[in-house]
């Protein structure tokens, strides 16, 4: 059994970033897209905590707490807007939300 090196964290967070990006670009349900954005932000958190641990500082963890807070605010506003939209339009599918285009 080898030890967990910083590279492992980096690879994991890069994988999370990729999965999140794929989710945003490919999924059609707005709620799933919001969840994919959370995945990206969690990749960020993983990076921050791993780097902070490597450097032996708390800065990384503090930054991560800020990122978590911001993610919550974004999700709250996002779901609020989605509910407003759902009241008017009865859909959460991205490809049915198509009033605005050239």
């Amino acid at each position: 059994m080898g030890t967990i090196t910083p590279t492992h964290y980096l690879v994991l967070s890069a994988a999370l970033l990729l999965i999140g990006t794929a989710g945003v670009l490919l999924r059609r349900n707005v709620v799933v897209v919001l969840m994919s954005i959370e995945l990206i932000l969690n990749a960020v958190n993983l990076n921050l905590v791993a780097f902070g641990n490597m450097a032996g500082q708390l800065n990384g963890q503090i930054f991560a707490i800020f990122v978590i807070t911001v993610a919550v605010a974004e999700a709250a506003v996002g779901l609020g807007i989605l509910i407003a939209l759902f009241r008017n339009k009865e859909t959460v599918q991205v490809d049915e939300i198509d009033l605005l285009k050239w």
């Binding site: 970033l17 707005v30 960020v44 990076n47 911001v70 050239w102």
Partner: protein, 487 residues
Amino acid sequence: MSQFYTSTDHFVLLPALLLAMFGCAVLLFDFWIFPQEQLRKHLIWFVALGEAFTAIALFRQYSFLNEHGGELVAFNGALVIDGFALFFHWLFLAATLIVALISYRYLEVREEHHGEYYGILMLAQCGMFFLASGTDLVTMFVGLELMAVSFYILVGFLRTDKRSNEAALKYLLLGAFSSGFLAYGFSLLYGMAGSTRLRDVATAVAARDLKDPILLMAIGTVSVGLFFKVSAVPFHMWAPDAYEGAPTSVTAFLSVGSKAASFALLIRLFTALGAARSVWEPVLAGVAVLSLTIGNFAAVTQTNTKRLLAYSSISHAGYMLLGLVAGNDRGLQGMLVYLLVYTFMNLGAFLVIIALNQKDVAGEDVADLGGLIHRNPGYALLMLVFLLSLAGIPPTAGFIGKYYIFMALVEAKMYFLAVIAALYVAVAVFYYFRMVRSMFVEKQEHAGPLTTSFGMRAALVVTGLATLVVGLYPEPFVRLAQTSLMR
């Protein structure tokens, strides 16, 4: 161990504190003390008071810098007040005040007048403060998100309007996505530097090999996030939708406030990444040319004025990016002058579109401008000034902005880029003149005079004067940009 909260810290933070306090106060008062409809219109006085206090705080910082020179550094280097930051703070203050002035009548007409609008407006301005003053990755990220979340709410402010809902949702999804990328880049920069301070990041980047994959990944993700925020091609798709669906007063604020703040962040970050210039400069040049191309050509086919101005603002982002590509002092100076000019001329153009919005008329089509010269000559002439300025024709302000960008490119011996940028002015003239033609040649679409308000007329006079004065007598403004960068 340094002191926790010194008087310098307080002095630097004061404008942001005031904005946050007054913003929250407006939210609370709207909820508790002003349940009666007729009292609501007095909430705007809170905004005026808050902005007046902020202006005083900013003026004190300005006179301090004038006396002592240098810069004010607070919180161990997390926040800074220098000429650059102050330039942007004044710009944000002007934009917020003008938008607050004109919002009243527009929201009344749309029957969505709520007090929290003004509170969120001020919180957005507070976020912009941290973008222009922040020199720490955490401060910058939180400031960016404070501004962005406020804008998501403002774009979706017309709750019963499907188009406003849709615009807000699209803006939120793409905005949060891009913030995620930016944050990922920040986390890698933090990992390289072992510190979140921008100057440590700059030294760490300078010490790295330019082929280091982590450095490349960091620059890549940060660039993607920033290009989203300034709506540069190929990350511009949110802009036309958000601009079209949002309440027009918010569109005006979004197109100048959010853009100026994002450019402040972009200049600070790319300056910190200056050691890796050979990596990002070609990318930036490519993105700028793409923005000019797509922005200008897509605008040609638009029939909705808000959407047309959205594409034109994408092309303006391209011009401003070219200032950074040139990489000399003249280029940065050109960017600041361009942003100043752009703020007033773009706000002005949106003001006229807001004025066209009447009880039963959306007024957002190019055809709605028809015969404006007969209906209201004053507005038609002002719109002509704004459109000439947006196209960059002398003697208006827009020409000065473009002139400095071109000069910077020529000084940096990037003749090819300068020629391309100049050629796209011709395309821009074509679609701006479609609006002019509609106003002066085509027949009147709607009967009846335009009802306006005092705030609207005041805001139009200010933006119109600014656009003309900067164009006719640019020296003081150019010098202002120069001294802002020197301190």
